[in-house]
Amino acid sequence: MTAVLPAVAVAPAVPVTDGRRRRRIALLYAGLVLGLVATTLVAGGSGQLQIPLDEILGSIAHRVGLDVGPMPTHPRGEYTLWNVRFSRIAMAVVVGASLAVAGAAMQGVFGNPLAEPSVVGISSGAAVAAGAAIVFGLRFAGDWSIPVCAFLGGLVTTLLVYALSRSDGRTEVVTLVLTGIAVNAVSSALLALLMFLGDTQARESIVFWQLGSLNGSRWSYVLVVAPLAAVGIAVALACARSLDLLALGERSARHLGVNVEALRIILIVVVALLTAAAVSFCGIVAFVGLVVPHLVRMVTGPGHRTLLIASALAGALVLICADTVARTAVAYTDLPLGMLTSLVGGPFFFWLLRRTRRTAGGWA
């Protein structure tokens, strides 16, 4: 097709490739990876049993077959480092990355920066199903039983929220928040019912869920949820460009070749999968999926490819830090992680709500 220019003043060519933005994104990635390494080392060393940095490095070197550096001097040092701390850190990475990516993907599908698994009740929906698996002793898939139940619970809840909260291809803030209230209310009632039905041990597990904690994360648990998280994040990344186009609205996205119906279904499954990966063993850790993508967007802009990658890294980083605070802030006590994230995330959500209201010129 020929490009015949009509009689308008032709502005100078636009610098479309933005070098500064690329540098900033590269810096952010580098910073996040460095941060992850640093926090892992710090978190590995801190706790009731302090392990100095050189001993941690030495222990890691020995594990990879290099005979350099000192080994942990404390008799239980090596065991604590690898079977308590590092497994817990690995779990924090998986859960943090899952929640942050789930939040970013959900915001993209709903076209609403306030969508988040815990806000709209997907986390609690998944927790109900996981709770049911415990109370009724469902072991149909071995170690995978609870994650499978959590996934199904999360999927049903996501579909429900999606069907209830959308009109004309978008979700208004009011509808989303109110739907979240309704779904959370029903989920709490069901969790209460499960606690009533269950024995003492089951009750304790359910309470632990509602609080959210990484306490007792074992490698075997990490190995169950890490593949779920990896698949979910990979699929979300593959949909990144379509999510960008979806920001134009469903009609325009379709005009640009996006199969909106298929994209929606795929991402709803992804959100349920990632939420299940996070909730299965650690319970409800709220607001990570809200706060992290929002902060990342401030640095990277709204492009979903960068947003999803950086959110995964930042989510992991945030959760390692939060969990380290949770287990070291008060000596000999493991504070509930979900409580900490909600303490920070709740007010943040409120601020975001106010801001959205102001910029949208109303609650719509």
Binding site: V14, P113, L245, L256, G257
Partner: protein, 265 residues
Amino acid sequence: MNALTTRGVTLSYGHRPVLDAVDLDVRRREVLALVGPNGAGKSTLLAVLAGDVVPDEGVVELDGRPLREWRLRTMARRRAVLTQEHRISFPFPAADVVRMGRAPWRGLPEEDEDDRVVAEAMATTDVGRLAHQPFSLLSGGEKGRTSFARVLAQRTGILLLDEPTAALDIGHQEAVLARARAEAAGGAAVVVVLHDLSLAAAWSDRVALLHHGRVTAEGTPAAVFTAPLLSLVYDHPIDVLTHPATGELLVLPDRRTPLSREETA
């Protein structure tokens, strides 16, 4: 072969008929204007042409093949659509929004032209200086022009434009329609929904006048825009004049007649 063809397209929303047996040919090298009063079915017809709405009856063909046989991505390389609403969920800068128009060409040799095409589209629509501003903060007219740039960047042989001049100042109205005209001269088929009949007369080769979901008249602007027909369809006295110097058609409401709609209502 026609770029787009509809035959017997009929559609109702509930009990309200919106389109009634519409036959329309959209030809290449031609600007076709869809005009008509509010609620006549112009935007719905455009949505049917774009494949957003499947009609209850009738067929829509793109390049001789029924729309449902097309893959969305392939279709996106044949036709671009400018919708009336310009909304965005996240604060993408205007340049990124224009670049989204290149999405259907990803992974094809045409992708190499992305930078040049985007820059050219932004230059013609005069949005170059807005490149780094968030789309959501632009004014209505600036949003409209940026979206038009996105549609141009898609580089398709068929353009479906729903009120591209809405919220634009007179200079940008002319520029946008001149560009649509130029695309048609280059071989494209352009369908444009317009409210301003003088603009339609000036820039289109053919107009289709819709009334109650039917094509009441179709032909050159001079043939369709007659005072009696327009007065009937718009339910308001309308004058059609010829510009004394340029000979262009001017369509104006006749304000001398005391029977305005408010008074009869």
